[in-house]
């Protein structure tokens, strides 16, 4: 990992999307054990994956991981905490007017 350079990596992954009443979820699992670090960007390749209502879809795809540079990683670690309030749930969006 360079101080200022980003590296691009490809990883086979499995995407699981559930569009069921008893579970609405969407997850990506890297199948080669790739690990994501702070500041990295991940994009699953290919067209949008849609699960019809009532179904669970699993697809094997390839993901592009853009590795953050050492500096970006450090920056994300230092500043990420400021956004931690995102984890809180308040029932409404932050929009003042709808």
């Amino acid at each position: 990992m360079g101080l200022l350079t980003r590296e691009i990596e490809r990883a086979p992954c499995t995407v699981e999307i559930s569009h069921c009443f008893d579970s609405l979820h969407a997850h990506v699992r890297f199948n080669n054990g790739a690990v994501v670090y702070p500041g990295d960007e991940v994009q699953v390749e290919g067209p949008e994956i849609m699960a019809p209502f009532g179904e669970i879809v699993r697809e094997d795809r390839e993901a592009i991981i853009v590795r953050a540079s050492k500096l970006e990683q450090l920056w994300t670690r230092l500043t990420g905490d400021f956004e931690v309030m995102e984890l809180c749930e308040f029932s409404f969006s932050e929009e003042v007017k709808l």
């Binding site: 609405l24 979820h25 969407a26 997850h27 960007e41 994956i49 849609m50 019809p52 879809v57």
Partner: protein, 378 residues
């Protein structure tokens, strides 16, 4: 595209690929009026955020000091008292979406989408912690919590579909950046979020039990069991924090005060931005805020050594200032130009001042009980 496995619902039982499943759905859409509206559904892309944390620190958690309480809580979650509960049944009354006041409709849909996104993001976060962790106690907990969050999200999604809003889970094919939170910030924020969520839902549930004519949507009938899930999640985070006394001592007490203030203030401001919703429920948002803060403070005494002094004269005054400043910022943004920019800056300064005034109110101190676990009694 390689479709590995499609578990089909009854009406698309023969579909072996997602395209086929979609095609069947589309073909059915013209058959009845319910699915005909689906074609014209408003499409809302869910945009959860993605996080990483210090997974080694998570793995280092040792729950042996709270083992009895921990096992009891996990057993309760494994027993899954709410399995099968979050589905529409005969108690789900007809919702007259067309006859609903347009302002209420807008605010209520905002409530559903925001709640769905929050549950969904919680699910993504917990699942990530489950997947990356190696500590069996911790990964089991996060797996169980991810299950609950996905279930809640699914239930809200069901209500949204009825309102003509389809959530789109296609965000995975968009580029997403992973941000980073320290584990302790995740504990403080999610603990409070789960407990305040419990207090919010149970207060509305009890209010509507006493005033059923204000129940304008059946989803409120499910709030009691729903918030019991939130309550259990909060208990789990309380126990996690109990395993490391440093988390609630020293400099961290200031962090706790910051989180309490930020969470309460944000809730106050957001609720006051949704007047039609609260009017329809017959709830005064000031009364509601006070009720929820009182309950949340009482609960958080289980683990936090301080609570906020919400009876202090500066408290309510500065919450109102914060709300007004927030409205000013939004108006100024809409206005634009140099004058707008100046007004926006003034608004931000007012908001910062109000928040600082809230944060500097001396906190109430108390002794944290040796026994952490609580039962939902409100």
């Amino acid at each position: 595209m390689n479709v590995q496995n499609t578990i089909a619902a009854t009406h698309t039982a023969d579909a072996t690929t997602v395209e086929e499943g979609l095609a069947i759905q589309e073909a059915q859409a013209v058959l009845d009026s319910v699915s005909a509206t689906e074609v014209a559904m408003q499409n809302t892309l869910l945009t959860p955020r993605f996080y990483t944390t210090d997974f080694d620190e998570l793995d280092a958690i040792d729950v042996s000091s709270v083992r009895r309480d921990w096992d009891e809580l996990i057993d309760e979650m494994v027993a899954d008292p709410n399995k099968g509960h979050f589905r529409k049944n005969e108690a789900w009354d007809h919702v007259d979406w067309d006859g609903m006041d347009p302002d209420l409709r807008k605010e209520f849909i905002d409530f559903l989408i925001s709640s769905c996104t929050a549950e969904f993001s919680g699910c993504v976060l917990y699942k990530e912690m489950k997947r990356r962790g190696a500590n069996k106690d911790v990964t089991q907990l996060f797996q169980l919590m991810a299950r609950d969050e996905a279930r809640h999200a699914g239930f809200i999604n069901d209500a949204l579909r009825e309102a003509g809003v389809a959530v789109n889970l296609g965000f995975l094919t968009q580029k997403k950046k992973y941000t980073y939170f320290r584990p302790k910030f995740i504990y403080y924020a999610t603990y409070l979020s789960e407990k305040i969520g419990y207090a919010r839902y149970i207060t509305i549930f009890r209010h509507l039990q006493a005033n059923p004519d204000h129940r304008f949507h059946p989803i409120f009938k499910w709030f009691e069991e729903w918030c019991n899930d939130e309550f259990r999640h909060g208990e789990a985070f309380a126990l996690l924090m109990k395993t490391d006394p440093k988390l609630t001592q020293g400099i961290n007490v200031y962090w706790i005060k910051f989180f309490l203030t930020a969470v309460y203030a944000t809730m106050y401001v957001r609720d006051h931005q949704r007047p039609a919703f609260h009017k329809a429920l017959g709830v005064d948002p000031d009364w509601y805020a006070h009720e929820v803060f009182t309950k949340t403070s009482k609960l958080s005494e289980q683990i936090f050594p301080i609570t906020l002094d919400i009876e202090h004269p500066r408290w309510q005054r500065n919450l109102e200032r914060l709300h007004k400043a927030n409205v000013q910022i939004a108006d100024a943004k809409e206005q634009g130009g140099v004058a707008g920019k100046l007004k926006q800056l003034a608004g931000s300064a007012k908001a910062a001042l109000a928040f600082a005034s809230l944060l500097t109110i001396p906190a109430n101190k108390h002794r944290v009980p040796a026994q952490t676990r609580l039962e939902p009694v409100y």
